[in-house]
Symmetry: C2
Subunit: 494 residues, 2 copies
């Protein structure tokens, strides 16, 4: 390992214990300090982000604010202490299997985490984004592998974060940045690193997950990869609100030039839906938007060409891909339609994520058994969306909802999947290949559990227990206590 | 896949939805019915287990009772509903990042689970043991890969479990058994199977974990592998209760002929401890015990020979390995001592689990920095134990406890690690190679979360929500509600 990486890994490892030992209220205040610092530096950071990513100012200001709110939410989570999942079994001489000792269990930080930043959210899934916030909240030092799409923003954000954490009294080495793919892989392989997180493509995620699993000591790896985000529209919904459906759909497909992991890529709807003109008009009103970088433009243009050239595909809004003098691609939305039969005939070409403002309408015959279709067509997804009429709850619709929950982490009703709220109940994950690890989420407070492991203390004297497990409970965390005497009644009153 | 396995995989897949949809109280009652049936059939099952495993009647009766209590505890867990981790974000027009929809999240069963049974606990870690109980509690059909060490017991227990589940109204296919290593691997590779669990050796666990990770669609795999279970005894503890230490130690090492994953394999204690005669006497009073099978005897005998032949090793109780007319090995405890320097010199030979009644005392100089020693000597363990004097809480002891929590899932004070209580706070897991996945436990109620994944519903009408997420809450499960209006205060009052 090169000396710079060695220094970084050593510093993260040295920070692990003092950082884990910080009082949660102090760690919470440090997260708030980072949020404050990001907002105080918004003008400069957003200007750099605009230049490096081509994303619009309003979107980037909103994303920075979201990143700050996310840090504040994790601060609340840490201060509350419920995430520690403290369980206390009282010693019990009458235990059903003979006397039991006092046992106390809680969750402790894993240690240093390497977080691979995404290209498409230069704030919310990058330097100080959700993976960083949740790992710091858990008490784990973070080594961020910067995304090559916004290197200057990465260094500027790093400076803001490091200064805020230091001013808040957090140990040196709790947040560091490395650049370069080889460097990121070297850190992922380092025995001092205890977990990895990633947001990006399926091949890159598979590659990194494989490295994490093949280490001499394997570590957990949380990758958020690809998603088709199917949408299902019923006859009833079309009859009730076709205009609203068209505008919501085109807005969701074209926002941030479709470079969102929750972009609705496929809309299943009855043939004869009559939306062509409305979609064409709405798409025509979308101004050209720069894609993140030339590599992404190249991939998008090839996908778009292949789809448009596929037998049975009808262009509703053909859209454009044009290059500027700096080699950056500018795009307008492409929306095509295809019958279910033609989709099935060309599934190798058509059923793959298009990273950019492109969506495919899949037109189905009346009476098509959509619930039976889902397992044939779909792998795992981050989201699946249902548009039905008010009060519609047919057996067919229930069956569809049921099967969608088996193929997605979040099922929406009457909305659009882009714009993921940062809240306690949010789920941003899903069955493979949406994520490498479907036990978790990368957005929302449950994301913190990815970076924790359980430890139990048995028969420990109060003075040797960590603070959250002490009967005196100096941090005031929630403690779930199982009293003595209850085991003999287990199962008796059901 | 052979037709029999195909039928089994298909039946498990067909059972997944109806089983997941069972009312939790009905599923809880079914678990209690299995517990009742096991206890009602105890005489016959224990007799078969004695013949097949060589374990003693009292131990096996206690283990069967433990297995039944475990099922009753999971029944309580299921009926309570807290394991569903229901989170409800109220719709919030004033949300800090713009209006947010109603989002509701809970945990759903993964689907069919394959569970590889252990040899050393023919009830508690086999057919109806902890992995089966927790997967059934979660609502996942189980395919049990039977252990070849107790095939007749496996079939008899299967019959008891299947009949009890059917009589309790559970769907066909929720519990099935396959025998044979190739058959188990084929089931683990089957796309209809969604998770695996395992208790056994490091090589077998690594092999199976690799298969789970290399599937076209990878699945979570929860393996409990090897553990050295170090014990640390202070001068103070020796001065206070050396007799009690000797008897507790020899009992823990020799119980079930040392064939327990939590057997204390290494005892670090000050040189000049003066325990040799006491240990020799206690070991001499232990009657010969049959090992589980000739393959285990062969491995144990070779390990024991290698240890006794290592330079610097002093036999305190040499013990014996003798074969009976049927080729089964009978053993008495072997306890040896070695200096820390000699241990370090021969670490390749000496620092490896011995599956059987063998333990190594490691004699240290006064003032040895034990906390510094732990990372050099130990990988991950299921347990680590500290014996100190009453009230002892020196900085050295605190440092040792701290480092032990980084190398073990359960840290004990003043007891012995064998005899794992089945309780809400129990942790039976630990850093690699103790387990393949240190986010979980295989004993205690937290084990249920291994077989669940989160799903969120956004903006769903009440009539399309699953029961635990409905505002009406027909199952009466705990629901954590985040009200509207709170987001603007996040981070403000810390």
């Amino acid at each position: 390992m090169n000396p710079e990486l060695e220094t970084i890994a050593a510093a993260a490892a040295a920070a692990a214990q003092p950082f884990a030992d910080t009082n949660p209220r102090d760690r919470a205040r440090a997260l708030v300090a980072v949020a404050d610092a990001l907002e105080a530096n918004a003008d400069g950071l957003v200007a750099v982000a605009m230049a490096e990513t081509g994303l619009a100012e309003a979107r980037l200001r909103g994303e920075l604010r979201r990143t700050a709110v996310q840090l504040r939410l994790f601060a609340e989570t840490v201060a509350d202490g419920g995430y520690l999942d403290v369980r206390i079994d009282a010693a019990d001489p009458e235990f059903a299997l003979g006397p039991r000792a006092d046992v106390r269990r809680y969750l402790v930080p894993l240690g240093p985490v390497v977080n691979f930043a995404a290209s498409n959210f230069p704030f919310a899934f990058s330097v100080a984004g959700g993976d960083t916030a949740s790992a710091l909240a858990a008490g784990c030092p973070v080594i961020l592998k910067g995304n090559p799409g916004h290197p200057e923003l990465t260094r500027r954000t790093e400076a803001v974060v490091v200064e805020a954490l230091a001013a808040a009294g957090m140990p040196d080495g709790v947040f560091q940045v490395v650049m370069g793919q080889e460097e990121g892989v070297a850190i992922l392989r380092d025995p001092r690193v205890k977990a990895g997180s990633f947001t990006g493509s399926i091949p890159a995620g598979q590659f990194l997950a494989g490295i994490a699993a093949a280490r001499e000591v394997p570590i957990p790896f949380f990758g958020e990869l690809g998603s088709l985000n199917p949408v299902f529209v019923t006859e009833g919904a079309l009859a009730e609100r076709s205009g609203e459906l068209v505008s919501g759909f085109v807005t969701s497909v074209s926002g941030s030039a479709g470079q969102l992991c929750t972009k609705p890529g496929y809309v299943f709807l009855p043939e004869g839906h009559g939306l062509d003109q409305g979609i064409a008009d709405a798409a025509a009103s979308v101004a050209p938007h720069r894609l993140l970088n030339p590599r992404i433009t190249e991939g998008y243009a090839a996908r778009r060409e292949a789809i448009l050239a596929t037998s049975g595909v009808r262009a509703i809004a053909e859209g454009r891909v044009e290059f500027d003098g700096e080699g950056q691609g500018w795009v307008t939305p492409t929306v095509v339609a295809v019958s279910l039969d033609d989709l099935l005939a060309a599934r190798e070409t058509l059923l793959e994520e298009s990273f950019g403002p492109l969506a495919i309408l899949v037109e189905t015959d009346p009476g098509t058994d959509l619930a039976a279709l889902v397992p044939i067509l779909l792998e795992g997804n981050l989201t699946a969306t249902v548009h039905a009429a008010a009060g519609e709850a047919t057996p067919e619709l229930r069956a569809l909802v049921r099967v969608l929950t088996e193929h997605a982490g979040r099922v929406l009703f009457g909305g659009w999947p882009t714009g993921v709220a940062v809240t306690p109940a949010m789920q941003h994950g899903g069955p493979w290949p949406a994520t490498t690890n479907d036990s978790s989420t990368s957005v929302g407070t449950a994301a913190i559990t990815r970076f924790l492991r359980p430890v139990a203390y048995q028969g420990a004297p109060e003075e040797l227990l960590p603070a959250p497990l002490q009967t005196a409970n100096p941090w005031g965390v929630p403690q779930a206590v199982s009293p003595a005497g209850e085991s003999t009644a287990w199962g008796a009153n059901l």
